[in-house]
Structure formats: C-alpha cells, structure tokens
Subunit: 209 residues, 2 copies
DNA sequence: TAGATTGTTAATCGATTAACAATC
DNA sequence: TAGATTGTTAATCGATTAACAATC
C-alpha cells in the first residue's frame, strides 16, 4: 500500500468495501458513486476521488463493477498482507480482540497474548496462547529466529497503571507499532509509532454533534 | 458541550486529559503547551488553540495549572453528563465494552444488554442484565416511563448478518445514536445518527503510513 | 439521441502551523 | 531585565465540494 493515502480515505474505502460485500450478496453487479455516497451521506465526487486511488475504473452511464472494485480496494489496502501482532493484556478487551475474527480478514494476524495473571498463563484464547509478560522478549525473539516471522505490531490492552511499563517491554522486544487502547499517553523512542485508539473520543464526538 | 468543537479537537483534548491525570499523579502543578505538544508529537500552538476552547487560562512564563485545566476539559466535554445506553450483542466485544469501567468516567452509562442466545438471557454482566432482543422496545419504554430516563444511544456489536435488522429494532425503540462496531453500513432514517467505529480502518491507517 | 455517469480540474472550506505582541 | 510562555492573528496546507467535459 502506497503511503500517500490519507487515513480518512482509508476509512472511507473500508466502508465502500462493506457496501460492496453487501451488493455482491444481493447480486448487484454494478454500483454508482452516487449510490455509495447516499448510503454514507457523503459527496459523490468524494467517492469517485477515493476510487481513483484504486486500480479499478468505472463505466460511464453504468457505474463500477462491484466484484472488481471490491478486489481493487483489497489490493490497495493490502488485506492479504498478513501482519503478525501480539496482544498485551488478556482482560476483557484484549480477549475480545483476540477472539475477533474480522481482524484476520483485513490482514491482522494475532499470534499470541501476554498477561500477568497466573490463572491465565498457558491457557488458549481462540487458539492463541497466553504467556507471562516476562516472556515477551523471548517469544518475540523465538518468532523471529525459529518461525522467521518478525512481529512489529502490538495491541496494548493492559490496565492504565501498567501501560507505560508495558510499552517499555514492547520497545525492548523490537515492536515498532503500538496500538494503544489504554487511557495513557505513552513515551516511546522516535522510531516507535503509537496509535491511540480513542474510543471515548469517538463517543463524545459522536453524541455531542 | 457546545457543538462547534471539531471531533479532532475533542480527541486531542481527551489525550491532554490523560496527560494531566498523569501529571497530577506525579504532583506536577503546572504544565506548558510545549510539554503537552512534545508528548503527543504535535504543534504547541495547536495545544494552546484547543485549550482556548476551555474555560481555563494559562500563566505567561509558567504554563497551565494541571488541576484547573483537567477540570475545565471535563466540563467542556461533559464527562459528568451521564448518558444512558444499550448494548446490542453480548458477544466478545459487547461483553468487553459492558465490563469496560472507563466508559462511566467519561459519561457513558451502559444500563442493559440485549442478545438472542437463550443461555445468556437474564444473566448479569458487570451488574447489567442481558435481555432478549425482542424485549428491546419494551425495556426502552419502561426506562422512559418508569425510570424517567430516555435512552438515545445504542452500541451495536451483533454479528454482521444481524446488523441491519438490529438497527431497525433500534430505530423502532426511538434510539437516536447508533455506535456501530459491525462491518456493515446501516440504513436508517435521517434523524438517526450512525457512528462507524472503524477499528480495521485505524489499524490499516496506522500500519501503512 | 438523451440521459446518466465517470474522471478530473477548479473553488471552497476547514484545520494546522508559523509568527509575534503581550505578559509575567 | 532577560527569558519563557500564553493567546491570537495571519499564512499555509490539505481535504471536501462544485462543476463540467468526456463517455457510453
């Protein structure tokens, strides 16, 4: 996926993808930018501009071929490029994300969880093992050396009080992307990227506008 | 909360709030826009502009009083204005959100869940009862008539195949805000607002930039 | 052909960043 | 006073919307 696609465009393209899946299910062979725009309550030229980022092209007077456009979006956004990830914190949210089957469809492959609760250690969640946090570096190294798989992504769902410490463990384990679900602003080195999943922000934005 | 605050500003203000909580914990009485900006890797004038939306004011050469600024943000964003909400779908994600204690701190009060699994009906999750989906309208009416509480918000965490049907139940139950965690674009009347919680989009945006 | 739709350019709008006077 | 910081205005940047020729 080329780097020049804005986050907003990516999010819209995924919504188009949802719509296209539904169209295919219903057997609709073509869809117009206007139809997509109406469902999402956005401008139709916005839709055409986003689609212009894909390989797909439309037909005048007809619209876009649903099957073809769907595939183009998948290619553009790299749904097939499976990326390995760890989850730190096998509490409610961490466990739910580990069991969340949608992620795999979009290229996120969760391969293991980490937690400090002795009762959880060595149990399985959706086929993924839960390790003690102290094993993080070791498991990461093992993945890289033995399984030839570099894990660069971690999902952080530990309690707020453990967030910064956990982030430091992640940095030590060579993690480069931290998807942060905790209500804590993390301090990490320059080359590590943090994405703050601000559920509360979405909620407040949504219900106050 | 006044309507003119952009979603982006709201999300930043919440991150400032996280930072301020941490400062208070550490006993730092003052913080400058530059310090906040550095933690979030954003521009310091952006921080000052966002803070200008609050009642709080800073001191030249000193910065902002952490305690005061934290309170101002809470007031501005209405953390105290508890809003009642239902969760539809008591699966992994729905259950995790129901147990998620952070929400209450930010004004989201989940009062009941709905699911179709007979094994789950009438059980409790974090003190919140799980009702059958067919009871939705009845429970909503009861809340309004008996408990004098209008429920306008619903969190949708049902399987994709049940999403549109569930949305229609919500519309019938007078819900005005649907926080949609399903990979489905919902069709609802004009006066009902949908917020698509695009976790996959955040992930792809994050790991591809 | 007439009507609908794409693809793209230009215009508008909004958000971020730079700059700096005022203040302590 | 000198230096640091706020508060705010102006400049820049990027994203959305409008418009329309080209196409089928």
């Amino acid at each position: 996926m080329s780097a020049q696609i804005s986050g907003k465009a990516i999010k819209r393209l995924i919504l188009y993808h949802y719509i296209l899946s539904d169209c295919l299910l219903k057997g609709n062979e073509y869809i117009s930018s206007q139809q997509i725009a109406e469902l999402l309550k956005i401008d139709d030229s916005q839709v055409r501009k986003d689609i212009a980022l894909c390989a797909a092209s439309g037909k005048s007077n007809v619209g876009y071929n649903t099957k073809e456009l769907k595939k183009s979006i998948e290619q553009l956004l790299g749904f097939k490029a499976q990326k390995a990830a760890f989850i730190l914190g096998a509490g409610n949210l961490g466990s739910a994300l580990a069991k969340h089957t949608d992620f795999a469809d979009y290229g996120l492959d969760i391969i293991a969880l980490f937690d400090n609760d002795p009762a959880k250690i060595d149990t399985l969640l959706n086929g993924k093992k839960i390790y003690p946090l102290s094993e993080l570096h070791h498991v990461a190294t093992h993945e890289q050396l033995v399984n030839k798989r570099k894990v660069e992504i971690a999902i952080l769902t530990v309690p707020a009080s453990a967030a910064q410490n956990s982030a430091e463990l992640l940095v030590h384990a060579q993690i480069k992307y931290i998807w942060n679900f905790t209500p804590v602003v993390l301090s990490v080195p320059e080359d590590v990227r943090v994405c703050n999943e601000n559920l509360v922000g979405n909620f407040l934005d949504f219900t106050n506008s």
